[in-house]
Symmetry: C2
Subunit: 115 residues, 2 copies
DNA sequence: TAAACCTTGACACTCTCGTGCTAAGGTTTG
DNA sequence: CAAACCTTAGCACGAGAGTGTCAAGGTTTA
């Protein structure tokens, strides 16, 4: 039996047993299982649970936020798409190039035609 | 008047006027304002709204996810903390070093004492 | 000036997240 | 074997995301 069971893990990490199961469902911290399917938390998992708790509290972020960050880490395409969108951000309505204005005019025309 | 008003922008982007206001509150796409505080969407904003819509639909992610990614982009410390936590992930209960086991034993003892 | 727009604020509803608790049934252990 | 645990499933509930709609009041425009 190498690992703490769910209630023991809960006591040493500050999470509730219920939440440990929930965290597992998010895929962020998954314990191993005994032959009879009991969750077994090893030292690595316990440490991750503690630091995860600090991370959430320290920056006031949600489990789903970390889960999303994890997904971005795994999914190369997603990360590329999101960062690409974000990088295009610092565009101000003041500085617009000719092509953008062209599309803009087209929009206005489409709108007029649609009306 | 250089920019489309909210209803016009809604028609050309596929978002509802209500959602355009909501998106603005998330800080992801903020239009300029006319003298009388009317929202004015320029070509850049319109394009961002369209691509944002594709991004959400294409990867089945939420506005709040992109908002979180944006926050990580801005907040250096947050990004460092989250990536640090995620990078420590590929640790399997099988491969654990001596120090981890030491902490593990300490956990067990704490637990016994606390009981 | 009257119709058509825009603004903010608020009520409301559906979904998901985060959490607790209970039930029915297997496992471990004193 | 009986007490103490563990498992999954499910009910419940507050909070926040996402979205519509309506109201009261200012702006633009035909």
């Amino acid at each position: 039996m190498d690992g703490l069971t769910i209630n023991e893990a809960a006591r040493t990490t500050g999470w509730s047993p219920r939440m440990l199961r929930y965290v597992e469902r998010t895929g962020l911290v998954s314990p191993g299982r005994s032959a009879s399917r009991y969750r077994l938390y090893g030292p690595a998992q316990l440490q991750r649970l503690r630091t995860l708790k600090e991370l959430l509290a320290g920056f006031d972020i949600a489990l789903s936020d970390v889960a999303f960050a994890a997904r971005m880490t795994r999914d190369e395409e997603l990360r590329a798409a999101v960062t690409a969108w974000l990088e295009a951000k610092p565009v101000r309505p003041e500085h617009v190039d000719a092509e953008d204005w062209l599309r803009f005019e087209q929009d206005k025309h489409e709108k007029l035609l649609a009306a």
